[in-house]
């Protein structure tokens, strides 16, 4: 098997002539917690529906566990091996917690009763309550329980913390970390909450207008991106042609503010070569990276 649990190449999808995905590339390595970021309407949910085999792409290729996601036979095998927690949480509303667990268990020979019992207690889910009477947070937790207990190798979560209060969000993040640390389960979650992605993800993809604009290891991105503040000895007569990697440059009198996406050392050396220059560097948050790419698009 390949090291990529999810792999998409040039994925395209339109709805009534409106492009939703415009050539998305995505690679999710096994064992990662992968944050899939974008504004509302950027194409996150469409991507997930394509990966789940609920939709067929107009162009390109999506693979999960190395199998084609759009193929109906492969789709069954894919869905057997993954757990899905969705935003609309469309469980059967008339069933009780206990009934949906029994119902789901019947489809999965690999069902883990120990995990079912543990999460039922940990999440404090009332077995006899109807799904329609559960809070949003409880429904998310119930879906997570179903996904984990059937022994999923991959959890796909569509905005799992949407509408949850801060305590429930913290619980959810803790559980995701624990699931990842215990079983090496790959976790792919979409979100527009940058702080929670920053907290638990090791890899991210920022999607905008249907295509990936930034992708990679979060810590590597934070190393590559730096904000530089240059104070010059005298105001410059001619503007400087900054080297490759200077994404965003603002100049005001003797101070220059540069957001560098790579080659930081070269840009610093360039700045230092200017007469009387002193350079300070600042770390860049995921939020700044996100805004820089999504705004300029």
């Amino acid at each position: 098997m390949s090291d990529w649990v999810i792999q998409a190449r040039g994925l395209q999808k339109s709805f009534k002539g409106q492009p939703a995905l415009t050539g998305l590339n995505l690679e999710v390595p096994a064992g990662s917690i992968f944050g899939f970021l974008g504004r509302n309407g950027a194409g996150k949910t469409t991507t997930i529906r394509l990966l789940m085999g609920f939709l067929k792409p107009d162009g390109g290729d999506a693979r999960v566990f190395g199998m084609p996601a759009g193929d109906s036979a492969a789709g069954i095998e894919i869905r057997r091996r993954l757990g899905f927690v969705t935003e609309d949480k469309d469980l059967y509303p008339y069933m009780t917690v206990e009934q949906i667990i029994r119902f789901t268990r019947s489809f999965f020979p690999t069902w883990r009763v120990d995990s079912e019992k543990r999460y039922l207690k940990l999440f404090d889910l009332p077995p006899s309550r109807k799904i329609s009477d559960l809070s949003k947070g409880m429904r998310s937790k119930l879906m997570l329980l179903l996904g984990i207990s059937h022994g999923a190798e991959l959890l796909i979560l569509d905005e799992p913390t949407e509408g949850l209060d801060p305590v429930a969000v913290d619980d959810m993040l803790r559980e995701l970390v624990s699931i990842s640390a215990t079983g090496g389960t790959t976790i792919f979650f979409s979100s527009h909450q940058l702080e929670e992605v920053e907290q638990i993800a090791d890899r991210v993809c920022i999607i905008d207008h249907g295509a990936a604009v930034v992708t990679g290891s979060l810590d590597d991105l934070k190393t590559q991106y730096q904000r530089l503040r240059v104070v010059l000895g005298a105001e410059l007569r001619t503007p400087v042609q900054w080297g490759d990697g200077a994404e965003h440059v603002r100049q005001d009198g003797r101070t220059v503010d540069i957001l560098a996406s790579r080659n930081v050392e070269a840009i610093i050396n360039q700045a230092r070569s200017l007469p009387g220059a002193s350079v300070e560097r600042f770390p860049v948050t995921l939020k700044e990276i996100f805004l820089e790419h999504v705004r300029s698009n």
Partner: protein
């Protein structure tokens, strides 16, 4: 041992964790032979990515600060004792330098910038010196 990271400062998480472990070793809060939390419990306690803990541990092993023993976890290296003494000596040098700079009326920010500029010059000097231009 309590570690506390801030995910939204822009500093890579593995570097934050490395820095805190290094600091604990330098101050003697962690001593040679002490066991570090397992990857799983570190990730769960700090609610951070387990792969990021692995990365921090690997880099610290590379620096010789900890040793990873297969199956039994991570331990502070036996060799850090001498390193802690060197750090202690360096600390007194830095302290007296700081006192003198403060006497000159420099602010903390000014001192920090001076240090950073000098470090960068030092690094650049080493890089070009080695190239034999």
């Amino acid at each position: 041992m309590i570690f506390r990271l801030n995910p939204s400062t822009g500093l890579p998480m593995y570097l934050q964790l490395m820095e805190q472990i290094r600091h604990a070793v330098e101050t003697g809060a962690l001593k040679a032979g002490d066991q570090l939390p397992t990857i799983r419990s570190m990730a769960e306690d700090l609610v951070m990515n387990p792969n990021t803990v692995v990365r921090a541990y690997r880099e610290l092993q590379h620096e010789g600060i900890i040793e990873l023993k297969h199956g039994s976890g991570a331990f502070v290296s036996e060799s850090v004792g001498s390193r802690a003494r060197v750090t202690k000596r360096a600390q007194t040098v830095v302290q007296s330098t700081l006192d003198r700079l403060a006497d000159l009326g420099l602010t903390e920010d000014e001192i920090r910038r001076l240090f950073e500029n000098e470090l960068a010059q030092h690094r650049a000097g080493k890089a070009s010196g080695g190239k034999n231009e």
